[in-house]
Symmetry: C2
């Protein structure tokens, strides 16, 4: 990268102003546009290579896709590919859909295999079809192979650029060979030892090579670890991310059913997967079908549709509450009972939401499994009793002032106790049941659990009232 | 690590049975207990070194802490430290609290600096105080220094074992030096170039060193990147995790206010931080104060207290609904209006929960900021209108059958439309407001938003009814 002292505009004082994800950084936009207008190739090339590619991409955020591409064309090819990789996805797509196909095919050929496949999946298929024949054969085949893995599998997030060496090499030879290949590899820090037909035999880390520099003729076969944790290309990406997170790996090898090495998944891809899954879980907890794009980038009608599904289900539950209330018409003639209706319902819903949240998260992080149900039920019953007693006490106080008599007011605490106990039980058991049935427990969203408990709450309330009054 | 062919019990067929986070793996427990009883040091040492340390720890899960420590004592010291690092935290704490202090001080001295500080924070302070004087001076000072950083800061998750070299070294010298230091370093893949007093000057990657093996006399000062993304020791750990995630770094340097290198945070620590934050957000969304330990490990009374706070706030809102209903007593004499009360309330709550979920997540992932409020309001208004129209249509149908007249039934769709619009508005604006005020938008939990909208819903419903009937 070299010294950037020539580039006076990029003084470190100015660069210190920078923050990731900050609002669009307009610091260099005037200079960039001036350089573009003046066709100042030297200035643009310097801009591209002075900073970390991720920062450079941040500084380009205010440019149109056409301008951004014009800037990138001034950079040397490796730098161009790197900065392009850090641009916003919308900008990348727009560049691919509007630029010159031959140039872009060249860019695609040099992108990391996993990233380019993710990107091409977002681009207009007609454009992809026009571009693919221009990509060199080897890269084109690689793209087609990776695209064949369904989204959400290990195959769909892996990269095929792996450091592979035979076990017959020495430390010295291995370092030299890796040095030659480094340009094309995503990581050189884990080196996989393969036999014939890419059969995975072991792993040597760059750390081992470096520590054995003093004995350069050591054979890789004497260094390599043979007990490898691997994943299959068809495994769920979430499982893969958990394995890497648990073992603190830099990367994990992906194999086919016959233990042939087909790719690796690196730590940065794992972070992406974990963030993706956390976002998905957050959406589900709020009863929204997960979005594929960002909130602002998702078209309004599409987002409305993603919300309408769950909302309709929840509305269905709410209609059942209307029917339940209608059939218990008699009890409601005591109008003071109506005043407490939302209170009773929401108390059950809220404790249920809490229990569901606790259990779903503990299932997601694998702290508990459905086989723990007995101790979970016990814990939730105890907590339900304590929380119920507490809320009942406040509830009785309120009832004392609003109900016609202190005895009548007893309806409120008794119902609250029952409703809170039902809330904790249902909130805990519904996610466990879903898990047991092989479904995603996260589908038990907070509003969904609350919706079910609403109905139970009304039935309990009306029955307690009828019985007591 | 060498060949493990001698260890017949660890056949690969048996090992294939293994899954992370599976139930306790009892596969080797009988063999292990036999070896312990027979004091078979050779067998135990072999067990410890045959597999990846993370797997070995998994296989030891069924042992008591005392047994586990007895197994580990048979291993050579680096292996012992590695496996110990993968044991469950409860087991680690229990070993430290019950074992022989001198031996344990030795273990502590060899653990990664960040991990041992996290662990010591969980151990009985009296035990720590007895053990610390037995830890060698340098490590003890390091422990005390790291413990001084408040939890949640970069300083509290960083490690101090960093590869540091002066820029005057050549590639050849650097590789040799790193090879010598490797044993004590968490990563050798990023090498930090420091000047006097640890002043951070640049970064050279192991990849660069390996690719320059052909020119071994190249100076580090000619290779190093000078434009580094750094964090300060007092920065929030979440910010740090985001920077590493965004730039796909293996590690990020931590500096003090004068740019002195004080540590690094590696990719595996970043994954831990991201998982921690995702768990915290999930709890907040369900109106539970985040737990510090796992669901089953948190004492019942403590967990009840973590739930009671939010539950009381929500109960307070619900009490307001009772007061609102009491003051609108008149309208409720039409009992059919009561039947629709939960339906109207929950429709607002559910759309509000959805909006809050979308906005909170988009704020967390920095896709939006409070300055986007205008386009957010516009989007939520449009979605509210569409969803409201849809639910109103179904609601009118239900009202048509249950209300005394088709005109009276109009109360339902009109209220639903208003309530859904309010739901989307409040659900979107409340988190934005919290963010703007510098608070965590995640505090706007789904039940909290729903609780506020409940009150608004009742007021709207009663007013529409009074106006129309």
């Amino acid at each position: 990268m070299g010294d950037c002292s020539q580039l006076k505009t990029l003084s470190s004082a100015k660069a210190a102003n920078f923050g990731i994800h900050s609002m669009i950084n307009t610091l260099y936009l005037p200079e960039l546009r001036e350089m573009l207008a003046a066709d100042d190739a030297v200035g643009l090339r310097e801009f591209c290579s002075a900073l970390h590619a991720g920062r450079t991409a941040d500084f380009m955020e205010g440019l149109t896709p056409v301008e951004a591409w014009a800037v990138l064309r001034a950079a040397d090819r490796p730098t161009r590919v790197k900065i392009f990789g850090f641009l916003e996805e919308e900008v990348q797509v727009s560049i691919l859909e509007s630029g010159e196909p031959t140039e872009l095919a060249e860019l695609i050929a040099e992108m990391p295999p996993d990233d380019r496949v993710d990107l091409l999946n977002e681009v207009d298929p007609a454009v992809v079809e026009k571009m693919l024949p221009l990509v060199p054969t080897e890269e084109r085949r690689d793209i087609l192979r990776l695209r064949a893995y369904p989204e959400g599998t290990a195959g769909s997030v892996m990269t095929t650029e792996v450091a592979r060496l035979p076990e017959t090499l020495t430390v010295r030879e291995a370092l030299e060979e890796i040095g030659r290949q480094a340009q094309d590899l995503e990581t050189i820090y884990y080196i996989y030892i393969v036999g014939s037909e890419n059969h995975l035999r072991g792993l040597v880390s760059a750390r081992q090579l470096v520590t054995h520099l003093g004995k350069p003729s050591t054979l890789l076969s004497d260094l390599m670890k043979r007990d490898l944790v691997t994943v299959e290309a068809t495994d769920d990406q979430e499982t893969v991310a958990e394995k890497v997170a648990d073992f603190d790996f830099l990367a994990i090898p992906v194999v086919d059913a016959e233990q042939h090495l087909v790719g690796i998944i690196t730590h940065d891809d794992v972070i992406d997967v974990l963030q993706e899954e956390a976002t998905e879980d957050a959406y589900l907890a709020g009863a929204v079908e997960p979005l594929e794009e960002s909130y602002l980038a998702t078209p309004l009608l599409h987002l409305t549709r993603l919300r309408a599904g769950w909302l309709t289900v929840l509305f269905g539950f709410a209609l059942l509450t209307a029917i339940a209330l209608e059939s218990y018409g008699k009890a409601l003639e005591a109008v003071w009972l109506v005043w407490f209706l939302p209170l009773v319902i929401s108390s059950g819903g809220n404790t249920g939401s809490q229990s569901a949240t606790l259990i779903i998260r503990a299932l997601t992080t694998k702290e508990i499994s459905p086989s723990d149900w007995l101790s979970i039920v016990w814990r939730e019953l105890m907590m339900g009793a304590l929380l119920g007693a507490f809320l009942s006490a406040i509830g009785y106080l309120a009832g004392y002032f609003l109900a016609p008599s202190p005895t009548a007011a007893l309806v409120i605490p008794i119902t609250l106790m029952l409703v809170v106990l039902c809330g904790t039980m249902l909130g805990a058991l519904l996610p466990l049941l879903f898990k047991k049935m092989g479904l995603d427990p996260a589908l038990m969203s907070t509003p969904f659990v609350a919706g079910i408990i609403d109905i139970v709450g009304i039935v309990l309330y009306m029955n307690v009232a009828i019985y007591l009054l």
